[in-house]
């Protein structure tokens, strides 16, 4: 009996320590208003306005209101100010680190890889900075990562509870941000393909969980709006307008795809030329953080290669699941990096940890570390950017 608490602690001290560290790093100067992303000034009021009155705003009407409902209780608990508005992101940002730890551990079946992934994610300045914003993508990214973790568990253990949790997390992600529906296709595709010989057993469950739960969660998130007297038909019309608005917009992302080199080097460029303003400038510099891109690109390429080569459903799930939301941002004229980075950042960290684990021997590890550091400082030179100030932004406080 006396050994139980100790064994529990032994099993959980790393995730708890990761959570504590991540939480504190994200909490540090969370109240600072020196710099902010534009969303900050209307994120909190939007949560109050929607939760209490069902108004979608004052943000863009194309945003899904699920995140506002989740953020509202934090305002009640921590105050209707910057701290209260940002606290949801602090919590969900820190929880994402723990989820990333578990994903990497499960994917590579290696404790150290999990720890490396968790630490990389915990210390990554972009993740920290976004967790100090009021942007709902941080919350959506957490649920997207949780869905991947649960789906991985399902592939390993074949438990219906894991399937249900996958669908619930995926539904929450979709209810907060529609672009997460692209992850839905990957997760469902991989699971169906993996269980293709047992579809008689799993088919009805797949339909119930993955076809019915996401619209149910989305409708649930829209109840305050519907309660203002709107009909279900009007809601469907609203969603149709939303899709029409996005589809009728320009597609600069596709243009970039036609020029692969510019695509790779120009990703952060897009945000560097963001509109002038204190918040935008800070955000641009942050999003151009070369650590993210130069670490993630080799990690992602190696993972894609190994997933294809080994026909590994688990790797395909993680890689595809995190990358899928990025496709949306290649099709619509949005600040690509701001949102998609949050979705694929966990992926990058997981695979960078995996990549590091492939290296055996001190020389190779040191060589890789030197290469990465060079990348960090050479990146601004090759892309004609000013030296990124991410350490400053990290310490400076609010996003």
């Amino acid at each position: 009996m006396t050994t139980r608490p100790k064994s529990w602690l032994n099993a959980w001290w790393i995730p708890l320590a990761l959570f504590g560290t991540s939480f504190l790093l994200r909490l540090f100067r969370v109240e600072s208003s020196r710099q902010w992303i534009e969303d900050t000034v209307f994120g909190g009021p939007a949560a109050n306005l929607y939760s209490l009155h069902g108004f979608i705003g004052p943000g863009p009407w194309t945003s899904q209101p699920g995140g506002s409902l989740l953020r509202y209780p934090f305002g009640l608990l921590f105050g209707n100010d910057l701290i209260g508005w940002r606290m949801a992101n602090v919590l969900f940002g820190a929880l994402t680190v723990v989820v990333v730890y578990f994903i990497a551990r499960r994917l590579f079946r290696n404790y150290w890889v999990g720890l490396a992934a968790g630490l990389l994610m915990a210390l990554e300045p972009f993740s920290i900075l976004m967790s100090r914003s009021t942007d709902e993508d941080v919350i959506a990214a957490f649920f997207a990562a949780l869905a991947i973790l649960c789906a991985l568990r399902f592939l390993d253990k074949e438990l219906e509870s894991d399937l249900a949790l996958t669908a619930i997390a995926l539904s929450a992600a979709v209810a907060i941000r529609y672009y997460m529906a692209l992850e839905w296709f990957v997760v469902v595709g991989v699971l169906v393909w993996n269980r293709r010989r047992e579809l008689r057993v799993w088919g009805i469950r797949f339909v119930a969980y993955f076809v019915l739960l996401p619209p149910a969660a989305t409708l649930l998130a829209n109840l305050p709006w519907l309660a203002r007297g709107h009909s279900l038909g009007e809601w469907v019309q609203l969603q149709a307008d939303l899709l029409r608005t996005f589809s009728s917009a320009e597609h600069p992302g596709l243009r970039d795809l036609q020029r692969p080199m510019r695509w790779i080097l120009g990703f952060p460029h897009k945000t560097i030329v963001a509109p002038a303003g204190k918040g935008s400038a800070a955000m641009s510099v942050t999003m151009s953080n070369p650590v993210v891109w130069w670490l993630m690109t080799p990690g992602a390429l190696v993972s894609a290669w190994s997933a294809v080569r080994s026909r590994d459903a688990r790797r395909a799930l993680v890689a595809g699941g995190f990358f899928a939301p990025l496709v949306f941002f290649l099709l619509v004229p949005r600040d690509v990096m701001l949102y998609s980075a949050l979705s694929i950042l966990p992926l990058g960290m997981v695979f960078v940890a995996g990549l590091l684990s492939l290296l055996r021997g001190r020389r190779r590890t040191v060589a890789l570390a030197v290469l990465l550091v060079c990348c960090v400082y050479l990146y601004p030179v090759v892309s004609f950017l000013k030296v990124p100030l991410w350490p400053y932004l990290w310490l400076a406080g609010g996003s």
């Binding site: 979608i56 119930a208 969980y209 829209n222 309660a227 009728s248």
Partner: protein, 212 residues
């Protein structure tokens, strides 16, 4: 045999055996859809028969419309406000200083803020339509509707701008707001047609001074 037999007996019988989770999801989905339909319908309240009122301020409008909730507002306007937040700011400005003259924007803002109306359909006169089209082009979030009108979003609510030539009738349980200046600018016969031959449950004539 004994234990296996008992285990079989205690399981749910029939084809649903083992599908408790899936069934739960089906029930949850059905409940959410029913609630989503019901919550909107229960919150829509309009007078049983058509009512015509004359008011002078946004506050009077809100008082008169206390039995109305969740209606569509048809605004006959000669200066289409594409930036929808102006409705709200105009209303808030008026709240700060009640001596300010009431404009149609104040009324619309009041109706929306008090949740008497939740969607706006605007009928700009023919003469203003060219400006509407010009303003609409290039505006992020605008949607061109099949009817030839333009649709915008006002705090998540649709603002349809419809030229009189495209749609000349109001065919829903709307609230119509007409003010003095607008009444002067519209063709009187057309205006009468709109208000009297429509299914609108409420027609509000705003006779107060109008801000320019």
């Amino acid at each position: 045999m004994g234990t296996e037999g008992l285990a079989e007996e205690t399981r749910p019988a029939g084809i649903l055996r083992g599908y408790t989770g899936a069934l739960t999801v089906v029930v949850v989905f059905a409940v959410v859809v029913i609630v989503a339909v019901a919550v909107g319908a229960l919150n829509r309240r309009l007078p049983a028969t058509r009512k015509t009122v004359t008011v002078t301020t946004a506050y009077d409008t809100a008082a008169v419309l206390k039995d109305v909730h969740g209606a569509t507002l048809v605004l006959l306007d000669s200066e289409p406000r594409i930036a929808g937040t102006e409705y709200f700011s105009e209303y808030l400005r008026h709240e700060q200083d009640p001596d300010l003259p009431v404009s149609s924007d104040t009324v619309v803002g009041g109706l929306l803020m008090s949740d008497r109306a939740r969607r706006v359909v605007m009928y700009p006169p023919k003469s203003a339509w060219g400006d509407v089209v010009k303003l609409a082009k290039g505006r992020v979030g605008s949607v061109t509707t099949a009817s030839g009108g333009y649709r915008f979003r006002l705090f998540g609510e649709a603002v349809d701008l419809v030229p009189p030539t495209v749609r000349s009738g109001v065919d829903g349980p709307y609230v119509i707001v007409v003010n003095k200046r607008l009444a002067a600018q519209y063709d009187r016969d057309w205006l009468t047609d709109i208000t009297e031959s429509s299914d609108a449950r409420l027609v509000v004539w705003l006779s107060g001074e109008v801000a320019q």
